[in-house]
Protein backbone atom coordinates (compact mmCIF):
# COMPACT_ATOMS: atom_id res chain seq x y z
CA UNK A 1 0.00 0.00 0.00
CA UNK A 2 1.50 3.36 -0.98
CA UNK A 3 2.13 5.77 1.84
CA UNK A 4 0.13 8.95 1.84
CA UNK A 5 2.22 12.11 1.83
CA UNK A 6 1.46 14.30 4.84
CA UNK A 7 2.11 18.03 4.66
CA UNK A 8 1.84 20.68 7.36
CA UNK A 9 0.84 24.09 6.05
CA UNK A 10 1.56 26.83 8.57
CA UNK A 11 1.40 30.58 8.56
CA UNK A 12 4.10 32.39 10.48
CA UNK A 13 3.91 36.01 11.47
CA UNK A 14 1.14 38.43 12.15
CA UNK A 15 -0.67 38.90 8.87
CA UNK A 16 -4.19 37.52 8.54
CA UNK A 17 -4.36 36.67 4.82
CA UNK A 18 -5.40 33.05 4.46
CA UNK A 19 -6.32 32.90 0.79
CA UNK A 20 -2.89 31.78 -0.42
CA UNK A 21 -2.53 28.93 2.05
CA UNK A 22 -6.13 27.84 1.56
CA UNK A 23 -5.67 27.60 -2.20
CA UNK A 24 -2.45 25.67 -1.70
CA UNK A 25 -4.06 23.31 0.85
CA UNK A 26 -6.83 22.48 -1.63
CA UNK A 27 -4.38 21.87 -4.44
CA UNK A 28 -2.35 19.48 -2.28
CA UNK A 29 -5.48 17.67 -1.13
CA UNK A 30 -6.65 17.31 -4.72
CA UNK A 31 -3.28 15.77 -5.49
CA UNK A 32 -4.00 13.09 -2.89
CA UNK A 33 -2.01 14.47 0.02
CA UNK A 34 -3.09 14.85 3.64
CA UNK A 35 -2.76 18.49 4.55
CA UNK A 36 -2.65 19.53 8.17
CA UNK A 37 -3.58 23.16 8.51
CA UNK A 38 -2.61 24.77 11.79
CA UNK A 39 -3.95 28.26 11.32
CA UNK A 40 -2.69 31.80 11.60
CA UNK A 41 0.02 33.43 13.67
CA UNK A 42 2.10 30.36 14.37
CA UNK A 43 5.44 30.64 16.11
CA UNK A 44 8.39 28.51 14.96
CA UNK A 45 8.10 26.49 18.18
CA UNK A 46 4.43 25.73 17.50
CA UNK A 47 5.21 24.72 13.93
CA UNK A 48 8.06 22.41 14.92
CA UNK A 49 6.03 20.67 17.63
CA UNK A 50 3.05 20.33 15.32
CA UNK A 51 5.18 18.83 12.55
CA UNK A 52 6.50 16.23 15.00
CA UNK A 53 3.17 15.34 16.57
CA UNK A 54 1.61 15.01 13.13
CA UNK A 55 4.63 13.15 11.73
CA UNK A 56 4.40 15.04 8.46
CA UNK A 57 6.91 14.53 5.65
CA UNK A 58 6.81 18.13 4.54
CA UNK A 59 6.50 21.44 6.35
CA UNK A 60 5.23 24.30 4.18
CA UNK A 61 5.77 27.72 5.70
CA UNK A 62 4.06 30.89 4.57
CA UNK A 63 4.96 34.41 5.52
CA UNK A 64 3.70 37.66 4.13
CA UNK A 65 4.83 39.96 6.89
CA UNK A 66 8.55 40.04 6.23
CA UNK A 67 9.57 37.84 9.13
CA UNK A 68 10.70 34.95 6.92
CA UNK A 69 14.44 35.54 7.35
CA UNK A 70 14.05 35.15 11.08
CA UNK A 71 11.27 32.57 11.34
CA UNK A 72 11.90 30.11 8.52
CA UNK A 73 15.43 29.15 9.62
CA UNK A 74 14.22 28.90 13.22
CA UNK A 75 11.79 26.18 12.19
CA UNK A 76 14.59 24.29 10.44
CA UNK A 77 16.83 24.59 13.51
CA UNK A 78 14.12 23.54 15.94
CA UNK A 79 13.23 20.49 13.87
CA UNK A 80 16.88 19.44 13.75
CA UNK A 81 17.29 20.03 17.49
CA UNK A 82 14.23 17.89 18.21
CA UNK A 83 15.48 15.02 16.07
CA UNK A 84 13.20 15.67 13.10
CA UNK A 85 15.75 17.20 10.75
CA UNK A 86 14.78 14.82 7.93
CA UNK A 87 11.55 16.65 7.23
CA UNK A 88 11.45 18.69 4.04
CA UNK A 89 10.90 22.37 4.80
CA UNK A 90 9.69 24.64 2.02
CA UNK A 91 8.52 28.21 2.13
CA UNK A 92 6.44 30.71 0.26
CA UNK A 93 4.87 34.12 0.41
CA UNK A 94 6.21 37.60 -0.08
CA UNK A 95 9.90 36.81 -0.31
CA UNK A 96 12.34 38.99 -2.23
CA UNK A 97 14.52 37.15 -4.73
CA UNK A 98 17.67 38.16 -2.89
CA UNK A 99 16.53 36.26 0.23
CA UNK A 100 15.97 32.98 -1.55
CA UNK A 101 19.53 31.71 -1.65
CA UNK A 102 20.18 32.81 1.92
CA UNK A 103 17.17 30.80 3.06
CA UNK A 104 18.31 27.77 1.10
CA UNK A 105 21.71 28.00 2.72
CA UNK A 106 19.94 27.83 6.05
CA UNK A 107 18.27 24.54 5.23
CA UNK A 108 15.11 25.49 3.36
CA UNK A 109 14.69 22.99 0.53
CA UNK A 110 12.81 25.32 -1.79
CA UNK A 111 11.19 28.74 -1.81
CA UNK A 112 8.13 29.55 -3.88
CA UNK A 113 7.80 33.26 -4.33
CA UNK A 114 4.58 35.20 -4.82
CA UNK A 115 2.60 34.19 -7.88
CA UNK A 116 3.84 30.61 -8.01
CA UNK A 117 1.29 28.27 -9.59
CA UNK A 118 0.12 25.73 -7.01
CA UNK A 119 0.60 23.05 -9.67
CA UNK A 120 4.32 23.73 -9.53
CA UNK A 121 4.32 23.06 -5.80
CA UNK A 122 2.41 19.81 -6.35
CA UNK A 123 4.85 18.79 -9.08
CA UNK A 124 7.84 19.62 -6.89
CA UNK A 125 6.50 17.52 -3.99
CA UNK A 126 5.45 14.62 -6.22
CA UNK A 127 8.93 14.51 -7.71
CA UNK A 128 10.62 14.66 -4.31
CA UNK A 129 8.34 11.92 -3.01
CA UNK A 130 8.83 9.69 -6.05
CA UNK A 131 12.60 10.10 -5.80
CA UNK A 132 12.34 8.41 -2.44
CA UNK A 133 13.75 11.26 -0.41
CA UNK A 134 10.76 10.84 1.83
CA UNK A 135 11.31 7.18 2.61
CA UNK A 136 11.25 6.70 6.38
Amino acid sequence: MPRTLRVLVAKLGLDAHTIGVTVLARALRDAGMEVIYSGLRQTPEMVANTAIQEDVDVVGLSSLSGAHMKHFPQVVELLAAKGAGEKLVIGGGVIPDEDVSALKEKGMAEIFTMGTDTRDVVKYLDTWWADGDGAP
Binding site: A31, Y37, Q42, E45, T50, P136
Partner: protein, 323 residues
Amino acid sequence: MKSARALADAALARDILAGARIIRLLDDRDEHGIEALAHLYPSSGRAYVLGVTGPPGAGKSTLVSKLIGALRKRDLTVGVLAIDPTSPFSGGAILGDRVRMQEHATDEGAFIRSMATRGQLGGLSRSTFEASAVLDAMGFDVVLVETVGVGQDELDVVELAHTTVVVSVPGLGDGIQAMKAGILEVGDVHVINKSDLPGADELERQLHVMLETEAHREGAWKPRLLRTVAEKGEGVEELVDGCFAHREHLQATGEDERVAARRAEHFFLEILRDEVSARILAFARGDAAGAALLEDVRARRRDPYAAAAALLDAFEANPQTKR
Protein backbone atom coordinates in the same frame (compact mmCIF):
# COMPACT_ATOMS: atom_id res chain seq x y z
CA MET B 1 14.92 3.97 10.59
CA LYS B 2 14.80 2.70 14.15
CA SER B 3 13.63 -0.88 14.62
CA ALA B 4 10.06 -1.45 15.68
CA ARG B 5 11.27 -2.57 19.08
CA ALA B 6 13.36 0.57 19.58
CA LEU B 7 10.47 2.75 18.48
CA ALA B 8 8.13 1.02 20.90
CA ASP B 9 10.58 1.33 23.80
CA ALA B 10 11.02 5.02 23.06
CA ALA B 11 7.27 5.51 22.88
CA LEU B 12 6.85 3.78 26.24
CA ALA B 13 9.29 6.36 27.63
CA ARG B 14 6.91 9.02 26.24
CA ASP B 15 9.14 9.98 23.28
CA ILE B 16 6.80 12.07 21.13
CA LEU B 17 8.78 11.54 17.94
CA ALA B 18 8.58 7.76 18.33
CA GLY B 19 4.89 7.72 19.25
CA ALA B 20 4.03 9.96 16.33
CA ARG B 21 5.99 7.73 13.96
CA ILE B 22 4.31 4.55 15.17
CA ILE B 23 0.90 6.10 14.62
CA ARG B 24 1.97 7.03 11.10
CA LEU B 25 3.25 3.53 10.34
CA LEU B 26 0.02 2.01 11.61
CA ASP B 27 -2.04 4.42 9.56
CA ASP B 28 -0.02 3.39 6.51
CA ARG B 29 -0.52 -0.31 7.43
CA ASP B 30 3.25 -0.71 7.59
CA GLU B 31 4.45 -3.94 9.18
CA HIS B 32 6.89 -2.04 11.41
CA GLY B 33 3.93 -0.23 12.92
CA ILE B 34 2.12 -3.50 13.52
CA GLU B 35 5.24 -4.92 15.16
CA ALA B 36 5.60 -1.84 17.37
CA LEU B 37 1.96 -2.11 18.39
CA ALA B 38 2.59 -5.67 19.51
CA HIS B 39 5.15 -4.33 22.00
CA LEU B 40 2.92 -1.47 23.13
CA TYR B 41 -0.41 -3.20 23.42
CA PRO B 42 0.23 -4.89 26.79
CA SER B 43 0.87 -1.45 28.31
CA SER B 44 -2.37 0.03 27.03
CA GLY B 45 -5.74 -0.03 28.74
CA ARG B 46 -5.06 2.52 31.45
CA ALA B 47 -6.11 5.76 29.78
CA TYR B 48 -9.54 7.27 30.15
CA VAL B 49 -10.92 7.54 26.60
CA LEU B 50 -13.35 10.35 26.01
CA GLY B 51 -15.20 10.64 22.70
CA VAL B 52 -16.65 13.87 21.38
CA THR B 53 -19.11 13.62 18.53
CA GLY B 54 -21.77 15.76 16.87
CA PRO B 55 -22.74 17.35 13.56
CA PRO B 56 -20.29 19.29 11.36
CA GLY B 57 -19.43 22.69 12.76
CA ALA B 58 -21.02 22.09 16.16
CA GLY B 59 -17.89 23.34 17.90
CA LYS B 60 -16.32 19.96 18.70
CA SER B 61 -12.74 21.10 18.12
CA THR B 62 -13.25 24.32 20.04
CA LEU B 63 -14.69 22.29 22.90
CA VAL B 64 -11.88 19.73 22.75
CA SER B 65 -9.36 22.54 23.02
CA LYS B 66 -11.06 23.83 26.15
CA LEU B 67 -11.21 20.29 27.52
CA ILE B 68 -7.46 19.93 27.00
CA GLY B 69 -6.96 23.13 29.01
CA ALA B 70 -9.26 22.03 31.82
CA LEU B 71 -7.71 18.55 32.04
CA ARG B 72 -4.19 19.96 32.03
CA LYS B 73 -5.17 22.24 34.92
CA ARG B 74 -6.15 19.10 36.79
CA ASP B 75 -2.63 17.84 36.17
CA LEU B 76 -3.63 15.21 33.65
CA THR B 77 -1.76 14.58 30.43
CA VAL B 78 -3.88 14.48 27.29
CA GLY B 79 -3.58 12.79 23.91
CA VAL B 80 -5.97 13.96 21.19
CA LEU B 81 -7.06 12.22 18.00
CA ALA B 82 -8.98 14.61 15.76
CA ILE B 83 -10.57 13.05 12.71
CA ASP B 84 -11.61 14.72 9.48
CA PRO B 85 -12.82 13.10 6.27
CA THR B 86 -10.67 11.89 3.39
CA SER B 87 -11.85 13.14 0.02
CA PRO B 88 -13.30 10.18 -1.87
CA PHE B 89 -12.19 11.77 -5.12
CA SER B 90 -8.50 12.34 -4.56
CA GLY B 91 -7.74 10.31 -1.42
CA GLY B 92 -6.33 13.51 0.04
CA ALA B 93 -7.67 15.48 2.98
CA ILE B 94 -7.54 18.85 4.66
CA LEU B 95 -7.25 18.30 8.37
CA GLY B 96 -8.21 21.51 10.13
CA ASP B 97 -9.38 20.49 13.58
CA ARG B 98 -6.17 21.47 15.26
CA VAL B 99 -6.45 25.09 14.17
CA ARG B 100 -8.69 25.48 17.23
CA MET B 101 -6.26 23.65 19.49
CA GLN B 102 -2.97 25.34 18.69
CA GLU B 103 -2.74 27.14 22.01
CA HIS B 104 -1.64 23.73 23.31
CA ALA B 105 0.96 23.09 20.60
CA THR B 106 3.90 23.85 22.87
CA ASP B 107 2.56 22.03 25.92
CA GLU B 108 4.62 18.87 26.44
CA GLY B 109 1.70 17.28 28.30
CA ALA B 110 -0.61 17.46 25.30
CA PHE B 111 -0.18 15.49 22.08
CA ILE B 112 -2.52 16.36 19.24
CA ARG B 113 -2.81 14.23 16.15
CA SER B 114 -5.01 14.85 13.11
CA MET B 115 -6.20 11.79 11.26
CA ALA B 116 -7.96 11.37 7.93
CA THR B 117 -10.71 8.74 7.70
CA ARG B 118 -8.94 6.96 4.80
CA GLY B 119 -12.13 5.32 3.65
CA GLN B 120 -13.33 4.20 7.07
CA LEU B 121 -17.03 4.72 7.68
CA GLY B 122 -18.41 5.14 11.15
CA GLY B 123 -17.01 8.54 12.11
CA LEU B 124 -13.51 7.38 13.02
CA SER B 125 -10.43 6.85 10.86
CA ARG B 126 -8.99 3.55 9.68
CA SER B 127 -6.58 3.34 12.59
CA THR B 128 -8.11 5.34 15.40
CA PHE B 129 -8.23 2.28 17.67
CA GLU B 130 -4.55 1.63 17.00
CA ALA B 131 -3.59 5.27 17.57
CA SER B 132 -5.58 5.36 20.78
CA ALA B 133 -3.75 2.28 22.03
CA VAL B 134 -0.41 3.94 21.24
CA LEU B 135 -1.28 7.12 23.17
CA ASP B 136 -2.65 4.99 25.97
CA ALA B 137 0.53 2.92 26.19
CA MET B 138 2.61 6.10 26.10
CA GLY B 139 0.97 6.93 29.39
CA PHE B 140 -1.36 9.78 28.51
CA ASP B 141 -3.97 9.94 31.26
CA VAL B 142 -6.78 10.92 28.95
CA VAL B 143 -7.28 10.22 25.24
CA LEU B 144 -9.73 12.62 23.62
CA VAL B 145 -11.23 11.51 20.32
CA GLU B 146 -13.02 14.01 18.09
CA THR B 147 -15.05 12.22 15.41
CA VAL B 148 -15.75 13.60 11.97
CA GLY B 149 -18.89 15.70 11.83
CA VAL B 150 -21.45 12.93 11.95
CA GLY B 151 -24.83 12.68 10.34
CA GLN B 152 -26.63 9.46 11.08
CA ASP B 153 -25.32 6.06 11.93
CA GLU B 154 -21.66 6.98 12.34
CA LEU B 155 -21.16 6.11 15.93
CA ASP B 156 -18.16 3.81 16.15
CA VAL B 157 -16.72 6.11 18.79
CA VAL B 158 -18.91 4.45 21.42
CA GLU B 159 -16.99 1.22 20.86
CA LEU B 160 -13.76 3.00 21.72
CA ALA B 161 -14.62 5.53 24.40
CA HIS B 162 -15.47 5.12 28.06
CA THR B 163 -17.58 8.23 27.87
CA THR B 164 -19.23 9.68 24.79
CA VAL B 165 -20.06 13.36 24.69
CA VAL B 166 -22.68 14.27 22.11
CA VAL B 167 -22.59 17.90 21.04
CA SER B 168 -25.75 19.54 19.71
CA VAL B 169 -26.26 23.13 18.61
CA PRO B 170 -29.32 25.33 18.27
CA GLY B 171 -30.64 25.90 14.80
CA LEU B 172 -29.71 22.61 13.18
CA GLY B 173 -33.15 21.13 12.83
CA ASP B 174 -35.22 19.73 15.65
CA GLY B 175 -34.67 16.99 18.15
CA ILE B 176 -36.47 14.41 16.03
CA GLN B 177 -33.39 14.30 13.88
CA ALA B 178 -31.23 13.55 16.88
CA MET B 179 -33.57 10.72 17.79
CA LYS B 180 -33.53 9.34 14.27
CA ALA B 181 -29.76 9.43 14.18
CA GLY B 182 -29.61 7.22 17.23
CA ILE B 183 -27.30 9.81 18.65
CA LEU B 184 -29.47 10.23 21.72
CA GLU B 185 -28.92 6.70 22.93
CA VAL B 186 -25.15 6.88 22.69
CA GLY B 187 -24.60 10.08 24.65
CA ASP B 188 -23.41 9.66 28.22
CA VAL B 189 -23.13 13.42 28.44
CA HIS B 190 -25.10 15.75 26.18
CA VAL B 191 -23.79 19.21 25.48
CA ILE B 192 -25.71 22.05 23.95
CA ASN B 193 -22.87 24.11 22.56
CA LYS B 194 -23.26 27.62 21.13
CA SER B 195 -25.82 28.15 23.84
CA ASP B 196 -25.20 31.86 23.34
CA LEU B 197 -27.23 31.55 20.13
CA PRO B 198 -31.00 31.87 19.85
CA GLY B 199 -32.86 28.59 20.10
CA ALA B 200 -30.74 27.14 22.91
CA ASP B 201 -33.62 27.13 25.41
CA GLU B 202 -35.92 25.41 22.94
CA LEU B 203 -33.28 22.79 22.12
CA GLU B 204 -32.65 22.18 25.80
CA ARG B 205 -36.37 21.64 26.41
CA GLN B 206 -36.59 19.15 23.54
CA LEU B 207 -33.50 17.21 24.56
CA HIS B 208 -34.63 17.22 28.15
CA VAL B 209 -37.99 15.72 27.25
CA MET B 210 -36.40 13.09 25.06
CA LEU B 211 -33.83 12.08 27.64
CA GLU B 212 -36.53 11.91 30.31
CA THR B 213 -38.70 9.66 28.18
CA GLU B 214 -35.88 7.28 27.29
CA ALA B 215 -36.34 3.91 28.95
CA HIS B 216 -34.24 3.97 32.09
CA ARG B 217 -32.94 0.90 33.83
CA GLU B 218 -32.65 0.96 37.61
CA GLY B 219 -29.08 1.78 38.61
CA ALA B 220 -28.05 2.71 35.07
CA TRP B 221 -26.27 5.97 34.25
CA LYS B 222 -28.62 8.85 33.65
CA PRO B 223 -27.24 10.95 30.80
CA ARG B 224 -26.43 14.51 31.76
CA LEU B 225 -27.53 17.54 29.80
CA LEU B 226 -25.25 20.57 29.92
CA ARG B 227 -24.85 23.90 28.17
CA THR B 228 -21.58 25.33 26.91
CA VAL B 229 -20.24 28.29 25.02
CA ALA B 230 -17.03 26.64 23.88
CA GLU B 231 -15.65 29.79 22.34
CA LYS B 232 -15.69 31.49 25.74
CA GLY B 233 -14.92 28.40 27.76
CA GLU B 234 -18.26 28.59 29.55
CA GLY B 235 -19.56 25.34 31.02
CA VAL B 236 -16.33 23.45 30.41
CA GLU B 237 -15.55 22.69 34.07
CA GLU B 238 -19.07 21.31 34.47
CA LEU B 239 -18.52 19.21 31.37
CA VAL B 240 -15.32 17.74 32.77
CA ASP B 241 -17.10 17.06 36.07
CA GLY B 242 -19.93 15.36 34.18
CA CYS B 243 -17.52 13.14 32.27
CA PHE B 244 -15.65 12.14 35.41
CA ALA B 245 -18.93 11.43 37.17
CA HIS B 246 -19.71 9.02 34.36
CA ARG B 247 -16.29 7.46 34.66
CA GLU B 248 -16.79 6.96 38.39
CA HIS B 249 -20.16 5.38 37.69
CA LEU B 250 -18.49 2.95 35.27
CA GLN B 251 -15.85 2.06 37.83
CA ALA B 252 -18.29 1.75 40.72
CA THR B 253 -20.60 -0.58 38.80
CA GLY B 254 -17.86 -2.60 37.12
CA GLU B 255 -19.20 -1.47 33.78
CA ASP B 256 -15.75 -0.23 32.79
CA GLU B 257 -14.83 -3.90 32.36
CA ARG B 258 -17.65 -4.22 29.88
CA VAL B 259 -16.42 -1.15 28.02
CA ALA B 260 -12.95 -2.68 27.83
CA ALA B 261 -14.32 -6.00 26.61
CA ARG B 262 -16.48 -4.33 24.00
CA ARG B 263 -13.56 -2.25 22.75
CA ALA B 264 -11.30 -5.31 22.53
CA GLU B 265 -13.96 -7.22 20.62
CA HIS B 266 -14.57 -4.40 18.16
CA PHE B 267 -10.84 -3.81 17.62
CA PHE B 268 -10.17 -7.53 17.14
CA LEU B 269 -13.11 -8.25 14.86
CA GLU B 270 -12.42 -5.19 12.73
CA ILE B 271 -8.88 -6.37 12.07
CA LEU B 272 -9.97 -9.94 11.58
CA ARG B 273 -12.55 -8.83 9.03
CA ASP B 274 -9.91 -6.86 7.13
CA GLU B 275 -7.41 -9.70 7.17
CA VAL B 276 -9.91 -12.38 6.24
CA SER B 277 -11.30 -10.43 3.34
CA ALA B 278 -7.85 -9.40 2.13
CA ARG B 279 -6.71 -13.02 2.09
CA ILE B 280 -9.79 -14.38 0.43
CA LEU B 281 -9.88 -11.60 -2.14
CA ALA B 282 -6.22 -12.18 -2.93
CA PHE B 283 -7.02 -15.85 -3.44
CA ALA B 284 -10.02 -15.04 -5.64
CA ARG B 285 -7.86 -12.78 -7.77
CA GLY B 286 -5.01 -15.25 -8.06
CA ASP B 287 -7.07 -18.35 -8.70
CA ALA B 288 -8.55 -19.28 -12.06
CA ALA B 289 -11.69 -20.47 -10.31
CA GLY B 290 -12.27 -16.90 -9.09
CA ALA B 291 -12.35 -15.49 -12.60
CA ALA B 292 -14.60 -18.32 -13.78
CA LEU B 293 -17.06 -17.73 -10.95
CA LEU B 294 -17.16 -14.02 -11.68
CA GLU B 295 -17.90 -14.82 -15.30
CA ASP B 296 -20.69 -17.17 -14.17
CA VAL B 297 -22.27 -14.36 -12.17
CA ARG B 298 -21.97 -11.95 -15.06
CA ALA B 299 -23.56 -14.47 -17.46
CA ARG B 300 -26.23 -15.26 -14.86
CA ARG B 301 -25.32 -18.93 -14.75
CA ARG B 302 -24.89 -18.58 -10.99
CA ASP B 303 -26.22 -16.08 -8.52
CA PRO B 304 -23.71 -14.05 -6.44
CA TYR B 305 -24.44 -15.95 -3.23
CA ALA B 306 -23.82 -19.31 -4.87
CA ALA B 307 -20.64 -18.02 -6.48
CA ALA B 308 -19.35 -16.65 -3.15
CA ALA B 309 -20.09 -19.97 -1.43
CA ALA B 310 -18.28 -21.86 -4.20
CA LEU B 311 -15.27 -19.60 -3.90
CA LEU B 312 -15.09 -20.06 -0.15
CA ASP B 313 -15.25 -23.84 -0.63
CA ALA B 314 -12.38 -23.60 -3.07
CA PHE B 315 -10.46 -21.40 -0.61
CA GLU B 316 -10.92 -23.89 2.21
CA ALA B 317 -10.00 -26.85 0.02
CA ASN B 318 -6.83 -25.18 -1.25
CA PRO B 319 -3.84 -26.65 0.64
CA GLN B 320 -1.92 -23.37 0.29
CA THR B 321 -4.51 -21.44 2.24
CA LYS B 322 -4.29 -23.85 5.17
CA ARG B 323 -1.78 -22.81 7.77
